[in-house]
């Protein structure tokens, strides 16, 4: 009962002499000041610089970004890649998550740990691992050499990028979905079975809706992370342009602050929209986000 009652009355409660809960804005102040100084203000500056003229086109950064085809292409590439990675990640993670949540066997804990320990790898390491897997001297190349007498080198193309993004997205998604699968109410599935539903139907009608909040939240996070992923693409030195590389190029090679800033804002905005969409979809179903 306690201070919950004081909570809902902010203005009057603060007018009174200090209750125990009234200090909360002060305790949040250091964190919020830090955030304002080092995230909010810089972002505002980004927004502002995006308006200044681009070096080559002499138009504002934002105009340049939407009018020049190479930037639009870069945006499109990143968007499609992120969406594709998100979908495949969710699919794999859901299957693995359900499986691991329901089966108990020796070494399950170890398996889970092995699946999720790449969580801590920076993008550059992931890029390096992709090279190990699918580069010129990679496993794939050696296998294909011995089987088909030709070298399959995926690492430096779109597929390599895709593999890399998949690699760093899967661990987090698996962790979330294993947890969510464990919390599923089995009696719903049993009820469906008693009514004659096939396993396929049960999966689509009961399990997937039950996992919806977890799927949406980890999907949104996966999408946002893929949009902003830099290290992996940087290591793979891919010829295909993705937004983070384009931004980096504009900033470092051409000192084109306006465009770099404008692109950053666009990239952030798209990631943000993805998160908002996921949140809206979660609440639309009337369910609690996980």
């Amino acid at each position: 009962m306690s201070l919950l009652e004081t909570r809902g009355r902010a203005p009057t409660a603060l007018r009174r002499r200090a209750h125990h809960g009234a200090r909360w804005p002060w305790m949040l102040l250091p964190a919020l000041l830090f955030l304002a100084a080092f995230w909010l203000l810089p972002f505002a500056r980004l927004l502002q610089i995006g308006l200044s003229p681009d070096r080559t086109t002499q138009q504002s950064g934002y105009w340049t970004v939407v009018s020049q085809p190479q930037y639009l292409q870069s945006l499109l590439n990143t968007l499609l890649l992120s969406l594709a990675v998100t979908l495949i990640t969710l699919l794999i993670a859901a299957v693995v998550g359900c499986f691991l949540a329901r089966q108990r066997f020796a070494g399950r804990g170890t398996l889970l740990a092995l699946l999720t320990f790449p969580l801590a790898f920076p993008g550059v390491v992931v890029g390096f691992l992709v090279v190990m897997l699918a580069g010129r001297q990679g496993v794939l190349a050696q296998l294909s050499m011995s089987l088909f007498h030709e070298r399959w080198t995926l690492a430096y193309s779109l597929s390599g990028l895709f593999i890399g993004y998949l690699y760093f997205s899967l661990p987090r998604a698996i962790v979330t979905l294993v947890a969510a699968s464990e919390k599923l109410d089995r009696s719903l599935e049993e009820a469906a079975r008693s009514l004659g539903a096939s396993q396929w139907r049960i999966t689509w009608d009961v399990i997937v809706p039950g996992l919806k909040p977890a799927l949406l939240s980890s999907g949104a996070l996966c999408f946002a992370t893929s949009m902003g992923a830099f290290g992996t693409a940087f290591t793979l030195g891919t010829s295909l342009s993705v937004l983070p590389l384009t931004i980096y190029g504009e900033f470092t090679n051409y000192a084109n602050f306006a465009t770099a800033a404008a692109l950053s804002v666009v990239m952030g905005a798209v990631a943000w929209l993805g998160l908002m969409l996921a949140r809206a979809l979660t609440h639309a179903g009337g369910e609690q986000p996980s």
């Binding site: 306690s2 201070l3 125990h20 809960g21 200090r23 909360w24 804005p25 305790m27 964190a31 919020l32 830090f34 955030l35 080092f38 995230w39 810089p42 972002f43 500056r45 980004l46 610089i49 794999i92 299957v95 693995v96 499986f99 691991l100 740990a113 092995l114 699946l115 320990f117 790449p118 801590a120 920076p122 993008g123 550059v124 390491v125 890029g127 390096f128 691992l129 992709v130 190990m132 897997l133 001297q137 496993v139 899967l170 096939s198 996070l221 946002a224 902003g228 992923a229 830099f230 290290g231 940087f234 983070p244 931004i247 980096y248 800033a261 950053s264 990239m267 952030g268 990631a271 998160l275």
Partner: protein, 271 residues
């Protein structure tokens, strides 16, 4: 039978995924101790690449460690009061503020770093020091300290404990340091491992903010991948993995422990 087929499918997918995750890591670790990667294991095992890495890049380890520990100190100093504030704030405010705290994590690190450079880059004293990198790390890791601490505060019903302490005469700060902080120990621990792990592995923000004199571990890794032989890059990766493995294991253990605590408390409430 349908169920059998489905089961096999699940096992297959899980097994493949596990292989996908592990095989490259194992390969890379092996390459780091192989005499010559192009010849393969037949060329013999050696530690010379590891030695070379240490000779070239030792300072990146120390810097990463330094930044991670400072990051931890700052996130605890700012994050603990913030978690308390979120506990007491009205639910709508708490939700919005938590979202704001998550912004540097959800939105691309590159954009964050770019903004910081464009705004603060002109202060050359700051720009050239490792503090510049530290700022980015704190922004990125703060919510990962606040969340577990807040979760623990809610689980132990902190407001009740504070009321009891107040009824015994303890003022605000006394309550904070004798009752609030000690009872959040487990949340702080879980948060600490998360913060250190994230800080050691952070690249997107750090790459933009670093200088040739302030290189962290991942920055060094990127360097070595670009300019050194495969074996050196692999050895460096090997050392990185060996460093990060214990952290991850501790993190895992902490989270398991926290979850068991939470279920035990929930059962006790019902009983």
């Amino acid at each position: 039978m349908k169920r059998r087929a489905l089961f096999c499918l699940q096992v297959g997918v899980t097994a493949l995924t596990a292989l996908f995750m592990i095989v490259p890591v194992v390969l890379s670790m092996l390459a780091g101790v192989t005499e010559n990667y192009f010849i393969g294991l037949r060329s013999g095992l050696t530690l010379k690449w590891v030695d070379q890495v240490w000779a070239l890049y030792a300072d990146t380890f120390w810097l990463s460690l330094l930044i991670a520990l400072c990051c931890l100190a700052i996130t605890v100093a700012i994050g603990l009061p913030a978690a308390w504030g979120l506990l007491k704030a009205p639910p709508r405010w708490a939700a919005r503020i938590e979202e704001c705290l998550m912004l540097p994590v959800a939105l691309p690190g590159l954009a964050t770093a770019l903004g910081i450079i464009l705004l603060y880059g002109r202060f050359s004293g700051l720009r050239d020091s490792w503090l510049f990198i530290l700022i980015g790390h704190v922004l990125f890791t703060l919510p990962f300290m606040v969340r577990p601490v807040l979760a623990v505060m809610q689980a132990i019903q902190l407001p009740r404990l504070e009321e009891a302490a107040a009824s015994l005469g303890a003022g605000f700060w006394r309550r904070f340091f004798t009752v609030v902080v000690p009872n959040c120990r487990n949340g702080i621990l879980a948060g600490a491992f998360m913060v250190i792990t994230l800080s050691v592995g952070e690249f997107n923000i750090t790459w933009m903010l670093h200088t040739p004199l302030t290189k962290t571990l991942p920055v060094g890794l990127a360097d070595s991948y670009a300019s050194m032989r495969l074996e050196v890059g692999s050895a460096y990766t090997l050392i990185f993995i060996v460093m990060i493995l214990p952290l991850l294991l501790m993190l895992n253990a902490c989270n398991h422990w926290l979850e068991r605590q939470a279920t035990r408390n929930a059962l006790k409430e019902l009983a």
